[in-house]
């Protein structure tokens, strides 16, 4: 009961943007790149240019002046630059219906994502599937997703303290000592156990991301939020584990992971109220059980 419409998939003609919209949110994707382009909160009447993409850092195996390698304990990229998983336009399929709409994105043969908007929801669900990370370079890959927005955040972002109070984080700064920045990326990474957000106080906008698992996160530029979603490393960091973080999984090909992020654009004052229900749903999911139905529904009722 579905219809596939091929709109000239392989042509390079400019394509119209793709939007998903419900009562509360408008999500726009660039028709030419296939990537997220903007978010709009219809109720609060705010919007933001937000792009999202997947990148990876190359892991460090140590340098002559510092032999510390990136490993299970240590995150240490060998340079500040990130590499896109795929810089070219990505494959996109759109599914629309009354219960939910979704945009299926294929970034590469090892990174895919489905962006869903459910009827009535005020957050957007990003379900990513990543792996097996290719074994094609001697350095390992540390895969991140990065949301880049036009929020003027002034180098400040917030991460949760073990799912509890939100802690203020400032780029290249520690509140209790003078920081000597030797690791411009890793030195600004913080634990994200449930959420990360950044605020544009001038324009009263807050971009929030809820995670379904603990990961590392940061904001290395104004308006940016990035989260490390997967790693595959080929050197031990000599901190005790004695093994490189090179999980092959039970299938032997490399670990495939699937996770969900919930993204919300809201005013700073209303954001906690908007984010909290989904946070509770992640931390305390419903219990579901199924059983065979041997009679017709009317009889059963």
């Amino acid at each position: 009961a579905e219809e596939f419409i091929d709109t000239g998939a392989e042509s390079f003609a400019p394509k119209a943007d793709v939007t998903m919209e419900n009562q509360n949110v408008i999500v726009t994707f660039d028709g030419n790149t296939g990537r997220l382009k903007s978010l709009t909160n219809k109720i609060s009447q705010i919007s933001s240019a937000v792009t999202q993409d997947f990148f990876y850092y190359n892991s460090s195996w140590g340098t002559s002046d510092d032999e510390q390698a990136s490993g299970a304990y240590i995150f240490r990229p060998n340079r500040t630059a990130v590499f896109p998983v795929n810089a070219a336009p990505i494959g996109v399929t759109v599914v629309r219906g009354s219960v939910f709409q979704e945009v299926r994105q294929v970034f590469s043969n090892w990174v895919t994502q489905i962006v869903r908007l459910y009827d009535g929801d005020n957050d957007v669900e990003f379900e990513y599937t990543i792996g097996p990370i290719p074994y094609d370079i001697p350095e390992g890959k540390e895969v991140i997703t990065r949301f880049s927005s036009d929020l003027a955040s002034g180098g400040t972002f917030y991460t949760d303290a073990n799912g509890r109070e939100m802690q203020r984080r400032d780029l290249n700064y520690r509140p209790t000592w003078k920081l000597n920045v030797t690791e411009p990326v890793a030195g600004n990474y913080y634990p994200v156990n449930s959420r990360i957000h950044t605020i544009d106080k001038t324009n009263n906008r807050q971009l929030s991301i809820l995670t379904d698992r603990s990961m590392g996160g940061s904001s290395l530029a104004d308006g940016q939020l990035e989260l490390m979603v997967h790693r595959r490393l080929f050197y031990d960091d000599s901190r005790g584990v004695g093994e490189p973080l090179n999980e092959t999984g039970l299938l032997g090909t490399g670990l495939v992971i699937r996770g969900i992020m919930y993204v919300t654009l809201e005013t700073a004052a209303l954001s906690p109220r908007a984010v909290h229900p989904s946070a509770v749903l992640i931390a305390h999911p419903v219990a579901m059980a199924l059983a065979p139905l041997s009679t017709d529904v009317a009889t059963y009722v």
Binding site: E2, A72, R96, G97, I114, A289, A291, V297
Partner: protein, 190 residues
């Protein structure tokens, strides 16, 4: 005589800093996973019996309940093999909310009923390629081919409450799919 003690013990072991941070050796990580899996399996039985006691005066015996811990990769034996099934949802927090499960199903058209027997909105979509690939890796090609669709519907529950839903396949006289509502799929770029 299932109980939650086994999961309790498994989580206690996992409080070790290697379990929390993911810095264990691989064989230890597998052992953590085994302990949690066995604990969760016991707890499934506990929850199934509790939901059975809450829900059914008559009907399926409580031992017929199953859960689908691999639903995140769209694997659920009950929904994949039964054209009709019952879903019971329990909300463990104190305020009302809706959850939107996605069940892998073999057919392209279904009707979903609430506990009053009224049809509620539902949507069937084709299974994404990546999900089909994951299913094939876990189940094998043949078993994975049993379900090519995902059935999605909202299941609102009250605070500390539960709700029952019924899923029926809808079909025409020749067994063909007859959807109550169709979803449009547009392939922008392959």
């Amino acid at each position: 005589l299932a109980n939650s003690e086994q999961l309790n013990l498994a989580v206690a072991v996992l409080q070790h800093h290697d379990g929390v941070s993911g810095t264990s050796k691989q064989h230890v990580a597998y052992d953590y996973a085994r302990r949690v899996s066995e604990g969760l399996s016991e707890c499934e039985t506990v929850i199934n019996r509790a939901l059975g006691d809450l829900t059914f005066v008559s009907g399926p015996s409580v031992t017929e309940f199953v859960q689908c811990p691999l639903l995140n990769v769209s694997i659920c034996a009950m929904s994949e093999t039964s054209a009709n099934f019952t879903l019971v949802v329990y909300n463990p927090v104190g305020f009302a909310r809706a959850h939107l499960p996605r069940f892998p199903v073999p057919f392209g058209s279904y009707a979903v009923y609430d506990e009053k027997g009224l049809v509620i909105p539902s949507q069937v979509v084709s299974m994404p390629f990546e999900t089909q690939r994951l299913r094939a890796e876990i189940l094998g090609e043949e078993a994975a081919a049993a379900a090519n669709y995902l059935l999605v519907f909202a299941v609102p529950t009250t605070g500390f409450g539960f709700a029952t839903y019924f899923v029926n396949r809808t079909s025409g006289p020749n067994g063909e799919d007859v959807a109550l509502e169709t979803a449009a799929v547009e392939k922008i770029r392959s």
